[in-house]
């Protein structure tokens, strides 16, 4: 039991379970899944479907944070990638054409990689602190997205493109499969090759790792590019889900949600260690919380306060020193008079 509680996934899973349990008590058919038009339909599916962009961004963010960096530009990259794809499709002669959609997807993913490379170059090449380096693209990126969309919302009618975010495969949303693929890829790359160790050692001490023979600059750039790619895919899912690109609002505050998911998952912002599965659970907690708030009808004025309270509770439960203090107080609770007596005797 003690070993179980020490596991880094224990508390995140407890929180997720508590949220789900609350939903179960509040509305018993929360877990109900029905087949509708050949795909599963229910709240759990919604959570996975709407949560998939966040999970993707958070996976990328985990690796960046593992190198003691941070990427604030993911929200903007999400917007740029969606805008690029929708623009390409809307300018094509036949929006249904598969080739056009593939070109659009290829172009936005390529662009996302370039944006990641830009971040990586600023951090590893120019030696700018990650929070500043990525802040540049965070601010400029919204402008780039607006430039691409011309300040408008681009609407596309392309079933092939819509499939990415709203289609379903084997009765499950297609976006879930994208997430699983990326998650497994990240897991294999970092845990079955030495890359994970490289990332962790760069996060601990980039100079020492370089002296030990790791090309830490290359590792850093690669990690930012991977994060850019993840954000790019998330942007495709988001924009194809509603068949439109909104340069202003797509992926707004995603960087903060993603960082939160990473932290809830147990990865320290100090770098050096990372838990991909923890991040996955963290992102699911955030999306479940959002869905729960919609379902129980919290009035929109106080939605953010409710969210903040839950997040605060989650973070406090996660904090080991807070837990220890709480337990300590509980165990050594004595009345002042009692203490007095002990001292005098």
């Amino acid at each position: 039991m003690n070993g179980l509680m020490k596991h880094h996934l224990f508390w995140p899973l407890v929180v997720l379970a508590a949220l789900l349990l609350f939903n179960l008590l509040y509305s018993p058919d929360f877990f109900q899944l029905v087949m509708r038009d050949g795909h599963l339909y229910g709240s759990l599916i919604d959570i996975l479907n709407f949560g998939s962009p966040l999970i993707l961004v958070a996976i990328g963010m985990t690796l960046v944070i593992a190198t003691k960096g941070i990427d604030l530009s993911v929200g903007s990259v999400v917007a740029i990638s969606g805008a690029m794809a929708c623009l390409t499709i809307s300018e094509g002669a036949d929006q249904q054409a598969g080739g056009l959609v593939l070109t659009a997807v290829g172009m936005s993913l390529g662009l996302s990689l370039v944006l990641g490379l830009w971040n990586g170059f600023l951090v590893a090449g120019a030696g700018i602190q990650p929070i500043i380096a990525t802040l540049i693209l965070m601010v400029a990126g919204r402008g780039i997205a607006q430039l691409i969309t011309g300040g408008q919302i681009i609407t596309v009618t392309s079933p092939a493109y819509e499939y990415i975010g709203a289609g379903s495969l084997f009765a499950l949303p297609f976006s879930i499969f994208i997430v699983i693929a990326m998650y497994i890829a990240a897991l294999l790359l970092t845990r079955k090759t030495a890359l994970g160790l490289f990332i962790e050692s760069v996060g601990c001490n980039p100079k020492a790792s370089r002296l030990a023979g790791i090309r830490s600059g290359l590792v850093t750039v690669a990690v930012y590019m991977f994060c850019g790619l993840c954000a790019g895919i998330a942007g495709l899912i988001l924009s194809s889900n509603v068949s439109s690109a909104d340069g202003n609002n797509a992926g707004l505050w995603y960087e903060l949600d993603a960082i939160l998911a990473v932290v809830i998952g147990g990865t320290s912002l100090n770098g050096g260690r990372f838990y991909l599965t923890g991040t996955l659970v963290g992102a699911l907690i955030i999306q479940t919380l959002t869905t729960t708030i919609y379902m129980i009808g919290v009035s929109p004025e106080i939605t953010l306060v409710v969210k903040a309270f839950v997040v605060l509770a989650v973070c406090l439960i996660q904090s080991e020193s807070f837990r220890k203090k709480l337990v300590h107080r509980w165990k050594t609770r004595r009345y002042p008079a009692e203490r007095e007596v002990t001292r005098h005797v």
């Binding site: 300040g151 408008q152 988001l238 202003n248 609002n249 379902m295 929109p300 939605t303």
Partner: protein, 348 residues
């Protein structure tokens, strides 16, 4: 000298009046005119050239837009930009990306650039007093377009040009009343609100509620913000559909949220417009398209083409003419059939 501004002349005139008031009735007219000339030589000099040169100066208008949140806003922006060009008004345009602080920054920069008139659509209703006071102190008239502010001091702005959002809500509510006047069972309504705290969200909610109150069978069972965006509209509607099995009517505060909600309703295997009746506000092209397909049952129009009217007011304000404190735009409503007829001739 010929390029001398009409505004400069106006300033000089006001300055003269102030000085005249300060000096009291003992001062002679000659003394009056010499005093502003000493403090501000340029405007006093224009005074002699009078109105002849003034008409040639281009009026500068600073316009702080909310941001590209929806098709409606895009049409609104286009209308302002096109009619400014047509009216020969120099337009300084800024996009606040839905953030109040950006808009305040934009207005401050317009004050610094000494534009002739400032016009803006406030992102939210409250918190404008300070910056409007700054504009007033700088002597720059402010016109509110399409959204109001809740400021107590109405002297802070010249006029408010825009739709009456409460009336829009009432129109939507009236249609509900007429449609469901024979209802024997409860009619369950869900509401997708606009950005929390914005004037259209507050007013469309209030107007709607005010009208449907008269029939106790009409009940709003859930209300949540969809931020006026399609993605949020879809996400919230999906949650509504899971939480409430018996939704009869959806009231969305704009077309984009309704369009997102339609996707959610279709995904749930229901027919939008049939299984769930949909009322929306705005009447943008995509919304009208959906209405003509029968997916939206009733649209209350909210006319974004304020540009020509705005330029008219700007000219009047600069000319020093009196303008009405509240100018309402002309708007109608559309049922599905009417939408089908109107669609080919819609500009936005």
């Amino acid at each position: 000298m010929k390029k001398a501004g009409k505004w400069g002349a106006l300033l000089a005139l006001t300055g003269m009046m102030l000085v005249a008031a300060g000096c009291g009735n003992s001062a002679s007219p000659a003394a009056n005119s010499s005093q502003p000339a000493a403090s501000t030589p340029a405007p006093a000099a224009n005074n002699s050239s009078g109105g002849s040169g003034a008409a040639e100066k281009k009026i500068t208008l600073g316009f702080a837009q909310v941001g590209a949140e929806s098709g409606w806003r895009t049409a609104n922006t286009k209308s302002v930009q096109e009619s400014a060009a047509a009216a020969g008004i120099d337009l300084k345009f800024s996009d606040a990306q839905q953030k109040q602080e950006n808009q305040i920054k934009a207005i401050r920069s317009y004050i610094q650039q000494k534009v002739d008139v400032i016009a803006f659509s406030p992102v939210v209703e409250s918190g404008w007093d300070t910056v409007l006071k700054e504009a007033k102190d700088a002597g720059i008239p402010v016109i509110l377009t399409d959204r109001a502010v809740d400021s107590k001091d109405t002297s802070l702005y010249v006029t408010f040009l825009g739709s009456d959002f409460v009336e829009e809500g009432r129109k939507a509510g009236q249609w509900m009343l007429d449609q469901f006047k024979d209802a024997t069972e409860d009619v369950n309504i869900v509401e997708l609100q606009g950005t929390t705290g914005s004037a259209p969200a507050n007013d469309r909610k209030a107007g709607f509620q005010e009208v449907i109150q008269s029939n106790p069978k009409l009940k709003i069972i859930a209300s949540q913000t969809g931020d006026f965006t399609r993605a949020k509209g879809k996400e919230v509607m999906q949650a509504f559909l899971k939480a409430h099995k018996d939704i009869d009517v959806l009231y969305a505060h704009n077309d984009d949220m309704a369009l997102g909600a339609i996707q959610a309703i279709e995904a749930a295997g229901l027919k939008p417009g049939v299984d769930i009746k949909i009322i929306s506000v705005d009447a943008v092209k995509d919304g009208m398209q959906a209405a003509s397909e029968g997916k939206i049952n009733f649209i209350v129009e909210c006319n974004p083409l304020l540009g020509p009217q705005l330029m008219e007011i700007v000219k009047n304000v600069v000319d020093g003419k009196q303008v009405e404190k509240r100018i309402v735009t002309k708007e109608g409503t559309f049922t599905s059939e009417q939408a089908k007829e109107a669609l080919p001739t819609r500009q936005y």
